[in-house]
């Protein structure tokens, strides 16, 4: 299992990472609104993460750190 860390305060909720993930690990957190006014991304299925970093590759704001 890989480890994901998010700088949630910088997230703009664009969802490109969610779409890029091949394992449906990510979702926008509808229960949270960050300082920028967006629903930030969160891992909803982290145990499925394979550490491919597709999410981080597509993140325009460089808020995702991936460890394996």
């Amino acid at each position: 299992m890989a480890k994901l860390t998010f700088k949630a305060e910088k997230c703009k909720g664009c969802g490109l990472c969610v779409d890029a993930c091949p394992k449906q690990v990510l979702a926008l957190d509808a229960d949270t609104i960050n300082q920028k006014g967006h629903h930030p991304v969160k891992a909803v299925n982290e145990e499925a993460c394979i550490g491919c970093a597709f999410c981080a590759t597509m993140c325009p704001d460089c808020i995702i750190k991936v460890e394996r």
Binding site: G15, P60, C62
Partner: protein, 247 residues
């Protein structure tokens, strides 16, 4: 083991770009290349006028803000001042292909040993979505509200194809950043464009087909799909010139 983190050359400043704007991806790729080539300490970037006008805040290398379209001329000065500097410009389509066309063509013709990162998103983003020199035929923008009528305002400019006719430039490639595979290819092209400069080979331009969800009036995901559907067919990806290929 860390498999992905923010590159050192990218600053911690929050990017001002709209949600889903791919400028941020390209910024990161440039910064990753600076890290990998170990050149951040001798790199000087030139920011344009347009959405990426504040790029000077986003890179940790020394930066200059240039007048609209003049980045290649400013870069020429910086490079001629000290050829050991690694100099890149980061320009949008209005900056590079409209108001700055002369500077673009002539720096390419001189084979100026600089790296040009050219963001083609077919629109003027910063001013609110006007028609760009690269807006597609029929594309609706604020200043082409009935769609770009090529009989009235002419055809889009294909920068890589045009520059490839010159003897000057070393390397021209068009890439896109609308999916993981394309982003990885874009990274390779950007890296090569910087390596060319490090190796003294000359003018290297990477045209990056990018999205502008806000001014295209689409969700970020839909905008990436639109790149596949509309942009890439008009602006085919690939290498348009590589003088050192096979050598």
């Amino acid at each position: 083991m860390v498999v992905f983190d923010k590159p050192h050359a990218l600053s911690d400043a929050p990017l001002h770009y709209c949600p889903g704007c791919t400028h941020g991806i390209v910024h990161r790729l440039v910064a990753e290349v600076m890290d990998e080539l170990g050149i951040e300490g001798r790199t000087i970037g030139i920011a344009p006028v347009g959405c990426s006008v504040m790029a000077y805040d986003y890179f940790n290398c020394d930066m200059i803000e240039a007048a609209h379209g003049r980045a290649p001329a400013v870069a020429t000065g910086v490079k001629r001042s000290d050829p050991n500097n690694i100099v890149f410009t980061y320009q949008g389509d209005g900056d590079l292909a409209s108001i700055g066309m002369a500077e673009t063509v002539h720096s390419a013709a001189r084979n100026e040993n600089i790296t040009v990162i050219f963001i083609n998103n077919a629109i003027y983003g910063m001013t609110g979505g006007q028609m760009a020199p690269t807006s597609l035929p029929g594309q609706v923008t604020q200043t082409s509200p009935y769609g770009r009528d090529v009989s009235h305002c002419g055809f889009p400019i294909k920068v890589c194809e045009m520059l490839s006719q010159l003897d000057g430039p070393e390397y021209l490639e068009r890439v896109a950043v609308n999916n993981v595979k394309n982003v990885k290819n874009a990274k390779k092209a950007i890296k090569k464009a910087f390596e060319n400069q490090v190796n003294g080979k000359g003018f290297s331009l990477v045209e990056v087909i990018s999205s502008c969800p806000t001014n295209w009036g689409m969700t970020p995901a839909k905008a990436l799909a639109w790149i596949d559907e509309k942009m890439i067919p008009y602006y085919p990806l690939g290498v348009y010139k590589d003088r050192s290929a096979g050598k």
